[in-house]
């Protein structure tokens, strides 16, 4: 469903990403790993429309999306998170989920004043969906708290819930386990797998936590210094000599 072909990204004289290719099929979890500064997040930024790639193609369901503005890409169903949690901190937990469904709502002021059946129907649906995901990520009790006051692990889960209420087809998670304790990482692990199994979402994952990556990935792409180094199943990657060398240095 997603195909990245020969992607490159140049910042002035620096070739941050050079010839990276990647493909993601339906209901698949694909990880991008690599040492710090390898260009993983740059690949993400190109995919989500933050950067206009200098070369290569990105096809989402057969449609070229490279260089498209970020909101258009997200409307196609590719939604991402960031390394740092970016919630609307001054809004309540449930508001964060409602505002993410903004474009599905009827925002006509007159319809709002008259409370037309269509308006109510959509309002009810969006609340139901928000409630469903709050329950799903275990934040129902905190629905009316300000998002900024949640614990870090809860903020991470809320962020994923906020992506999911937009009903994406492909979820891009940038280091979702960063800063989580082992128990929280385990929860996250189960959550991501369930997104794939129960909600038919494909996931692209950037992560440093190898136990998580090896556990849940269907395939792994390794990038080193902007170039593709290896790709394959977790088992193949574990035994790949180049990968070991890149991570541990030359013996």
């Amino acid at each position: 469903m997603l195909e990245v072909q020969n992607l490159s990204m140049r910042f002035g004289g620096l070739l941050a990403v050079d010839g990276v290719s990647l493909d993601v099929k339906e209901r698949e979890i694909v990880s991008i790993i690599g040492p710090n500064g390898a260009g993983k997040t740059t690949v993400f930024n190109c995919m989500s429309g933050f950067y206009k790639p200098s070369g290569g193609k990105i096809l989402f369901e057969g449609q070229e999306v490279q260089g498209k503005p970020d909101y258009k890409i997200s409307r196609l169903g590719m939604v991402r998170t960031f390394q740092h949690v970016r919630l609307f901190n001054n809004m309540t937990v449930v508001e964060n989920l409602l505002v993410a469904q903004h474009r599905h709502l009827n925002t006509n002021l007159i319809a709002g004043l008259l409370k037309t059946p269509d308006y109510r129907e959509r309002e009810r649906k969006s609340l139901d969906r928000a409630a469903y995901w709050l329950e799903r990520v275990g934040l129902m009790d905190l629905a009316n708290r300000e998002a900024g006051n949640l614990a870090y692990g809860q903020q991470r889960r809320l962020e994923i819930a906020r992506c999911m209420v937009t009903e994406p087809k492909l979820l891009m998670l940038d280091e979702p386990a960063a800063g989580l304790n082992p128990a929280e990482t385990k929860d996250l692990n189960q959550l991501i797998v369930s997104l794939k199994e129960d909600y038919c979402v494909s996931v692209v994952l950037i992560e440093h936590d190898m136990s998580l990556v090896m556990d849940i990935s269907d395939r792994i792409n390794v990038i080193n210094q902007g170039r593709p180094l290896a790709s394959g199943t977790p088992e193949e990657i574990r035994q790949n000599k180049d990968v070991i060398k890149a991570y541990l240095g030359e013996a």
């Binding site: 970020d70 909101y71 939604v79 970016r86 001054n90 809004m91 937009t166």
Partner: protein, 307 residues
């Protein structure tokens, strides 16, 4: 007793003018809250609102309509529509093309827009003062006739009540409506809001439209209160309202309300107890003092730099 009445008189005058400042200040603070720029043309939007209201009132008088509520409501609606359209157009023409550039560029564009609108009204309506019919006269008198009498005019009551209604509606809109919710999201993190599929351009336009509509309300009210308008009508009021917004903490809507009231009261107290000449000295002095001790304003958020 006399002194007390005198004090209350100043307080009433101050709260009247202050609530009108607050209405204008909302426009500054909402725009800053969302895109981090100062809309210097906002004072002109307010002035155009006053002119439109006057034209509507004159037109209705020519038609022979004399029932006051109709005149006021029609004038208000006309002023709000024209000002909102102006606010929307100014953003579309002068700010959107330069958004995201260096901070100074939209600022200069705003100053240019302000000069343009001011001169346009000079040309179209003439530079002289034009009388604004009071429409609402009379009021309550307190105190004995042979000494100081405190007066509370119906006009002042109208200003209070209208401002109160506008502020309540605005607060409800921001806290309850979907568009209000999206406004809050955009003001916190415009990039993320964009990614979640919120049409941020539309939200920004909405902010300009709402701010302009409130400024138009203030234009009608203060036009009637002062009794005359001219093309520079928006300049001083805009400056005062901007001060009020900064005083209360720019970006914060309750801050703009509070800032307006504080500024209005401090001005009228200075006029009443010192001299009218000193009122600007005191109000800007107050601004400096507050910014010295609370750089983000009274209700401003602690973060200074907006990303």
């Amino acid at each position: 007793m006399q002194d007390l009445l005198y004090f209350f008189q100043q307080l009433i005058n101050g709260l009247t003018i202050g609530s009108a400042y607050a209405l204008i200040a909302i426009g500054y603070t909402m725009v800053y809250g969302i895109i981090g720029m100062i809309n210097f043309a906002h004072g002109e939007i307010y002035m155009i609102g006053a002119y439109t209201a006057l034209i509507a009132i004159t037109g209705l008088a020519t038609l022979g309509i004399a029932w006051l509520p109709v005149i006021l409501i029609v004038a208000l609606i006309c002023a709000m529509i024209v000002s909102s359209t102006m606010g929307w157009a100014v953003e579309r023409v002068a700010y959107r093309p330069v958004r995201g550039r260096h901070r100074l560029i939209p600022l200069i564009s705003a100053i240019g827009m302000s000069i343009f609108l001011q001169n346009y009204v000079h040309l179209a309506q003439g530079s002289r003062n034009i009388g604004f019919p009071a429409l609402i006269d009379g009021g309550f008198q307190f105190g004995s006739a042979d000494s100081f009498q405190m007066s509370l005019s119906y006009m002042q009551i109208t200003i209070f009540i209208t401002t109160l209604i506008c502020m309540t509606l605005l607060s409800l809109f921001i806290s309850r409506s979907r568009t209000g919710r999206a406004c809050r999201a955009v003001s916190q993190d415009i990039g993320m809001a964009n990614l979640l599929g919120i049409d941020t351009n539309r939200i920004i336009s909405a902010t300009f439209v709402i701010g302009a509509a409130l400024a138009a309300v203030a234009g009608l009210l203060l036009g009637m209160y002062y009794g005359s308008i001219d093309p520079l009508f928006g300049f001083i009021a805009g400056l005062k309202a901007f001060t009020a917004a900064v005083l209360g903490g720019i970006g914060s809507i309750p801050g703009a309300m509070l800032g307006g009231l504080i500024l209005g009261v401090s001005e009228s107290m200075t006029s009443g107890y010192l001299s009218g000449e000193y009122k600007d000295v005191v109000s800007f002095g107050l601004l400096i003092l507050i910014l010295l001790f609370k750089p983000t304003g009274l209700l401003g958020k602690p973060e200074v730099e907006k990303i």
